[in-house]
């Protein structure tokens, strides 16, 4: 083996004698974030107004709680802009016979506490859980948020997560995406699930400009894009998510 190593080093030197570039030069390591295969996107809103309640908190309990993580793989469950994504760690996989459940408890000052059972099943990798909380003593009926419009031309958004502190590193984020028309000041609406950096949607209209947002590891990440083409390649600074690997 030693002979082989010495011999191969000579050969590699010879082979590269007339070449300039190192084979791995400018090659970025691309990493996927879909470690949690079964996830739930939890969105908490004020039942009466549809706005984000201030100081809302979430706790996760139940038999499976030890294997429930925030999308970043951490045990910190913080609502950012009223949303958080939780999921099952790789050690626990639901089956048809044995779905996995946990309980999400939402508390906020001045609001009635709400608990919600979230069940992960084998046939559903992603799910959206809308939780409306009402002010204590309020009898106002819950607001019904209309679905976003559907446009005839689908738009494909491809996101590449970049890391300013790790130049040879790229992330293909698998995250839930929210959006709203730029300048509308309306609450963000759910756009869809981005699988390995790609999302296709009919909710974005041509000629309109949108704020696109996702939440990961307690941070929200935003990109603004005017839609004029059927597809866009966008970069997303992944912030402290880069330190997650």
């Amino acid at each position: 083996m030693k002979i082989y190593i010495k011999y191969s080093m000579v050969m590699l030197l010879l082979l590269s004698a007339f070449s300039c570039k190192k084979p791995t030069e400018n090659i970025k390591l691309v990493v996927d974030t879909d470690i949690l295969k079964y996830t739930a996107f939890i969105r908490v809103t004020d039942a009466a107004t549809g706005t984000i309640p201030a100081n809302a908190k979430i706790t996760i309990s139940g038999a499976a709680a030890d294997n429930i993580y925030e999308l970043s793989g951490k045990k910190n469950f913080n609502l950012v802009q009223g949303v958080v994504t939780i999921g099952l760690g790789p050690a626990l996989t639901p089956t048809a016979a044995n779905p996995v459940s946990c309980t999400a408890t939402i508390t906020a000052t001045g609001y009635t506490t709400v608990t919600k059972t979230i069940t992960f099943t084998a046939d559903k990798s992603q799910q959206v859980i809308n939780i409306q909380i009402a002010k204590a003593g309020s009898n106002t009926p819950p607001i019904v948020v209309p679905d976003p419009p559907v446009y005839p031309t689908p738009v494909v958004l491809t996101f590449t997560g970049t890391c300013s502190n790790r130049r040879d590193f790229e992330i293909r984020p698998s995250v839930y995406i929210m959006f709203r028309e730029t300048g509308s000041n309306l609450p963000y609406q759910y756009l869809g699930y981005m699988d390995k950096g790609v999302i296709t949607t009919t909710a974005l209209g041509q000629g309109k400009t949108y704020d696109v947002q996702t939440t990961f590891n307690g941070e929200d990440h935003k990109v603004t894009q005017k839609i004029e083409l059927p597809s866009y390649s966008l970069t997303l600074d992944m912030g402290n998510a880069c330190n997650n690997f």
């Binding site: 050969m11 590699l12 007339f18 090659i27 390591l29 691309v30 996927d32 951490k74 045990k75």
Partner: protein
């Protein structure tokens, strides 16, 4: 570069003069002579059959094999990893040895062509640390690995010089080949597993990096036995 060319020219002149001093004109007659060779050198190990088709020209038909492995030859700047690289080359070649100078029969010009049945460089990169994702410690299977394949399989021309007689004067001799193959532009492929699956999009960059890796130099000793 000029220094290299000067030194190479000087070396060639010295070798020719040295060879001239050893030459006997009767040694030039290689017509219809035959020998077999064992090759050892940068082309690995191999064998050849040589036949003189003219007073100055001999043809060599042979096969060479390189099985090489090397660890940690390459790295990524922001990824603590170990790498295993291997190069596996097998060629069948037909070379012509031309002895241009009557007075220096041991100096030869060599040209020909080889078909590389196999010419593949493979690098496998695996994380060297216990990688974690947030609070989750990932198993090696969950992290996965990267395979980078570079393949030069195909036809390659050869040019070089030979030192000392292509067919021994008596039973045995040792001669030397210095030259290079010019390989075709390589095909590249990247396969990732686990969370590294998305790396096939780097194939274009890898191709850009290795597209000029086409010169495969030959430094080889040939142990000849005259039939």
């Amino acid at each position: 570069m000029y220094k290299f060319l000067f030194l190479a020219s000087l070396f060639t002149v010295l070798v020719i003069n040295c060879v001239k001093a050893q030459t006997n004109p009767s040694d030039q007659l290689i017509l219809h002579q035959k020998s077999v060779k064992l090759n050892l050198g940068s082309q690995g190990i191999g064998g050849e059959f040589t036949y003189g088709i003219d007073k100055k020209v001999a043809l060599r038909l042979g096969l060479n094999v390189i099985p090489v492995n090397v660890n940690d030859a390459f790295d990524f700047a922001d990824f603590n990893s170990t790498s295993k690289a291997s190069a596996k080359f097998t060629n069948i070649h037909l070379l012509a040895d031309y002895t241009p100078f009557k007075s220096a029969s041991a100096f030869r010009l060599v040209g020909g062509v080889a078909y590389f049945v196999r010419a593949r460089g493979t690098m496998q990169v695996q994380p060297s640390d216990n990688y974690s994702y947030g609070d989750i410690v990932l198993t090696p299977d969950q992290v996965g690995y990267l395979n980078l394949d570079v393949d030069w399989k195909g036809i390659a021309p050869y040019a070089g010089i030979g030192l000392f007689k292509v067919i021994p004067k008596r039973r045995f001799n040792v001669n030397v080949d210095l030259g290079t193959y010019y390989l075709k532009q390589p095909d590249v492929k990247i396969v990732g597993t686990g969370i590294l699956k998305g790396n096939n999009k780097q194939e274009g960059q890898l191709h850009e990096n290795v597209k000029d890796y086409r010169w495969l130099p030959v430094i080889q000793l040939n142990f000849s036995y005259k039939l």
